[in-house]
Symmetry: C2
Subunit: 109 residues, 2 copies
């Protein structure tokens, strides 16, 4: 991904992670690895952790500390009701933006 990606990810990355969490609970290291797998090769380690902490402070996710077989305990995050509302709102905003952009790309204007 290009250098423009950093700015474009703002706001979107949060939605991506919450969408992932709406499917299943996950912990930071796992999410980072998954994102890398999906092609987000430049996502920095620390970025996801910061994002998760922000989401927790806003009450969008619930956390449970789970001991790991290998390494320090994991903080497993899951989307709660408020987070689901927020995610729905995210999809609405994304749809709006996406439609405008697609319209601009084809036909132009």
């Amino acid at each position: 991904m290009g250098k423009q990606a950093t700015e474009m990810l703002k706001g979107t990355l949060e939605g991506i992670v919450l969408a992932l969490l709406s499917g299943r609970a996950a912990y930071g290291y796992e999410i980072t690895a998954w994102l890398r797998d999906q092609g987000f090769t430049d996502i920095a380690e620390g970025t996801i952790y910061a994002l998760l902490i922000r989401s927790e402070q806003r009450g969008l996710v619930d956390v449970e500390k789970v001991p790991s077989e290998k390494g320090p305990p994991r903080k497993v995050y899951s989307l709660n009701a408020q987070g689901q509302d927020y995610l729905n709102e995210f999809w609405r905003t994304w749809s709006f933006l996406s439609e405008r952009l697609e319209q601009l790309r084809e036909g132009g204007r």
Copy 2:
């Protein structure tokens, strides 16, 4: 648009404006009005001007001062070759992001 829009616009708004300019030259006031028309009702007056100045400083657009029939002279911006390259790169990044998001929305993961 919701409150999430502000963050999601980062990086994207620039692409939107450059895409518009790739179709035809335009000046700040006009662009702002057009965006409002397109549903970006919350776009602040000053935002577009700042964006245009940034784009100019990066050499993505050319500027021409044109007297207006009604009001102060207009600064008419048009996309140059470097700006077109940048715009192409923008579309690549957008496509990537868009595909991931669409994939996440359907099926999930």
